[in-house]
């Protein structure tokens, strides 16, 4: 925890940084590395839970509210959990246990429907929703948001790479 005086001093420095538009990244990685980091993690997750991918996308996202660099790789993956009927919700604990066994760590409560997990500096939020109301047909049992590290200093705002692209073929188990 920062002391108040440290906060104010830091804020003072912050103004300088705000005016210079600078956001420092100490160990930048290339866009290709940023992409590989989350695509590899997504593949690892699908393998760990033996999931059947229904939708998977990759895009670059800015790491701040301004939409400025640095950027990180982001993947969204929806999947079926094996052995669970497609009109039944899956059990979050089963999925979390499989991920923990694969080396993903979590502080989250195992009862939660949306725990966060971490491995090799990649953060994921797993969402295993409960039974939907009548009228909504399940198109998967769960999805993960995979967030890579904020180390890609390229400006992706207008190069088209903020648009999600399909990566199902890259991560689906053979």
């Amino acid at each position: 925890m920062w002391s108040l005086s440290l906060r104010i001093a830091a804020a003072a420095t912050g103004i300088g940084l705000a005016l210079s538009g600078c956001a420092e990244v100490h160990h930048p990685i290339s866009p290709q590395q940023a992409r590989a980091q989350v695509v590899d993690a997504a593949r690892d997750i699908v393998n760990a839970v033996h999931g059947q991918v229904t939708e998977a996308t990759f895009s670059y996202e800015s790491c701040n509210d301004q939409g400025e660099p640095p950027f990180r790789g982001v993947a969204k993956v929806s999947f079926w959990v094996p052995g669970v009927a497609h009109d039944e919700p899956a059990d979050p604990q089963t999925v979390i246990k499989a991920l923990v066994a694969d080396g993903w760590s979590t502080d989250s409560d195992f009862k939660s429907h949306s725990p966060t997990l971490r491995k090799n500096n990649v953060n994921i939020i797993l969402t295993v929703p409960p039974r939907p109301p009548a009228g909504i047909q399940l198109k998967g049992h769960a999805w993960v948001d995979v967030d890579g590290e904020c180390r890609d200093t390229s400006d992706h705002r207008t190069d088209g790479s903020v648009v999600p692209v399909n990566i199902t073929n890259e991560i689906q188990r053979p």
Binding site: S3, G14, A18, E24, S59, D65, T158, V163, P164
Partner: protein, 623 residues
């Protein structure tokens, strides 16, 4: 029609370049008395003001004095029409007498046009008759075999002059009739549009108004109110609506009062035109970049290039928004390009994308970003809108959510943009925002939506100003606010009854430390001055929620830039508010003490002594 012996009417029409009799006929088939009777029925059915009574009587007198009392039959079932509209609009509706007045004005204009045209034709026919008689006399004289050659040629010349006179008179009357016809048609077009904005489908008077087809349908004129535009739209038949959507006139997509799904369809078509104009040129080894590198060579105007670049930003924004997940995997909400003005603000562009449909959603949020945001800058593809949507949707699993990313103002580009301190910049933007937020209530179907307007950074200053310009919203959320400009307390935001102001201000966010309160190290000089009060301060009237960020880098600006991070205190809290559960913040343990509480000065922030928490996510139907 007049019977002439020597003058050929077809020849006259050919020489004059038009048929005045046909134009007159097209007016005389109109049935002003039918329209007037219908007008009377509407006028009588509604509750009238004296002013409207007088206006109606004036129109009635105009009609009476012009009407020629021909064609008395009455095929319009007046009482059935009035009954239909009384059911649709309600008996007390002020629209009924207004419809009556508009109809009576059409009847009067038509009767006047008929009378004027009839007079012109009668005059023309009298003149032609006279000329025909004169020519007849000359022809008779020419039959005399004792005429000298000079006499004969004088008679020939007389006949020619008479014929020329006949052509000249016909031409003159043709011009008069065209002018009468055009004047009436223009008036009728405007009046029909007005009837539609009254909520009345004027197709019942089609034919009686001497207009063959009410096509094409003109849009309501600029400045028409959103409620009137909405009535205009609803008065069209499904077929007419389909035509207008297919034609995708750009103005229709940005017209406040048109339903969201229609605006989205029209704007997307216009966007696709802007994309195709350039991308269709890229073929046979020529790339889009080649085309953009030398647009003149490919026949592209500078404006086509501006439109293309901003169309790309809109397409990317739609693609990013379509990725949003509505609570269940693979379940994506519809997305709409709600505003699309690629050439606005000198080419910076103005746009809005709705994730989910605000016309049907129970909870709607409008998100306004700040400094450096803009269509051209790629703000439409920022992940914040998707994150706010997903978290808010999960915050109330039983309700439909919509989030509008509003990039509709000329945002200052940097902290050193002089426009930042120009009151006009926020004022103009505030008025635009107020109009765009308020119209969502006009087009919304069923019970009113719960509306939250979220302003980030300079966007929060704009939201405060919009409130001063009559923006109606239940709740307001300000995050990372550099000051609230025109508003000096929550009361100045004029929120709907039961509404609240919620504020997120990270203790380490330098932007929120407005200079009026903190002089501390002395670096908060006049550079950041002038944006007004800090809404996070005790006594302002806000509910402050926790919005601290875990230390991530040594860069403190980080704190100003992470109110929309997944799992953050701030995103979770905003979702509570957007989902209509602002009162749950207390229960969720996310309310924060105000700056300056405990009798300390506004520079004192109790939140600076608390460590940030993460992993906040609405995770079950219970919230």
């Amino acid at each position: 029609m007049v019977q002439l012996r020597y003058i050929s009417i077809p020849a006259l029409i050919a020489e004059a370049g038009g048929d005045p009799w046909a134009i007159n006929q097209s007016l005389q088939v109109g049935r002003p008395a039918q329209i007037s009777d219908l007008a009377e029925a509407f006028h009588t059915a509604g509750r009238c003001t004296t002013e409207r009574d007088n206006a109606f009587e004036a129109a009635r007198r105009r009609f009476e004095s012009a009407w020629t009392h021909e064609n008395g039959e009455n095929p319009i079932n007046d009482s059935a029409e009035v009954q239909r509209m009384t059911t649709a609009l309600g008996a007390q509706s002020a629209q009924l007498p207004k419809i009556g007045l508009d109809l009576e004005n059409i009847a009067a204009a038509l009767a006047e046009a008929q009378r004027a045209a009839g007079t012109q034709i009668a005059t023309l026919e009298a003149e032609l008759q006279q000329l025909d008689d004169l020519i007849g006399q000359a022809v008779e004289l020419e039959k005399n075999s004792h005429l000298s050659a000079d006499d004969r040629s004088a008679l020939d010349a007389f006949i020619r002059v008479s014929e020329d006179d006949a052509v000249r008179d016909t031409k003159a009357v043709l011009g008069q009739l065209q002018s009468i016809r055009n004047g009436y048609s223009d008036f009728l077009d405007t009046a029909l549009t007005t009837l539609r904005t009254d909520g009345y489908d004027p197709s019942v008077i089609q034919g009686a108004d001497a207009q063959k087809l009410h096509q094409p349908i003109p849009l309501p004129p600029p400045g028409t109110g959103a409620e009137d535009v909405n009535r205009w739209w609803k008065s069209l038949s499904p077929e007419q609506q389909k035509h207008l959507i297919a034609d995708h006139v750009p103005e229709l997509g940005n017209l406040n009062g048109i339903p969201v799904d229609v605006r989205g369809a029209v704007n997307t078509s216009v966007m696709n035109d802007d994309l195709h104009r350039v991308e269709d040129l890229a073929k046979n080894g020529v790339s889009v970049n080649d085309v953009l590198g030398d647009p003149g060579r490919y026949g592209l105007s500078p404006s086509a290039v501006v439109r293309y670049n901003n169309a790309c930003r809109a397409r990317e924004g739609l693609a990013k928004s379509a990725e949003a997940v509505d609570k269940w995997p693979g379940n994506h909400p519809p997305v709409f390009l709600l505003r699309y003005e690629p050439e606005a603000f000198g080419g910076e562009g103005a746009a809005a994308i709705a994730i989910g449909n605000p016309d049907t959603a129970a909870n709607t949020a409008v998100l306004v970003k700040g400094l450096g945001s803009g269509m051209r800058e790629g703000t439409l593809a920022n992940p914040d809108g998707v994150r706010l949507y997903e978290e808010s949707a999960r915050a109330d699993w039983g309700k439909e959510t919509a989030v509008v990313m509003w990039v509709g103002y000329d945002a200052p580009n940097t902290w050193h943009d002089p426009g930042l301190y120009e009151p006009n910049m926020a004022r103009t933007g505030g008025q635009l925002l107020a109009a765009d937020v308020n119209v969502l209530a006009v087009t919304h179907q069923g019970a009113p939506t719960h509306m939250t307007v979220v302003g980030h950074s300079y966007g929060s200053t704009l939201v405060s100003d919009a409130a001063a310009y009559g923006m109606h919203t239940n709740d307001v959320v300000l995050v990372g606010s550099p000051g609230t400009h025109l508003a000096h307390s929550a009361a100045d935001l004029h929120l709907s009854p039961g509404g609240h102001l919620f504020v997120g201000a990270a203790s380490g966010d330098p932007v929120t430390w407005s200079p009026g309160h903190v002089r501390g190290p002395g670096v908060f000089g006049p550079t950041l001055g002038g944006l007004g009060d800090d809404p996070a301060v005790d006594g302002y009237g806000s509910t402050r929620f926790e919005a601290e960020n875990p230390p991530y880098t040594t860069n403190p600006i980080y704190d100003h830039s992470h109110y929309f991070d997944n799992g953050s205190e701030s995103l979770f809290s905003m979702a509570d508010v957007v989902s209509g559960h602002g009162d749950a913040l207390e229960h969720d343990g996310l309310t924060a003490p105000h700056r300056g509480e405990y009798g300390m000065g506004g520079w004192f922030d109790p939140e600076a002594f608390r460590s940030a928490t993460t992993g906040h996510r609405h995770s079950g139907p219970a919230g």
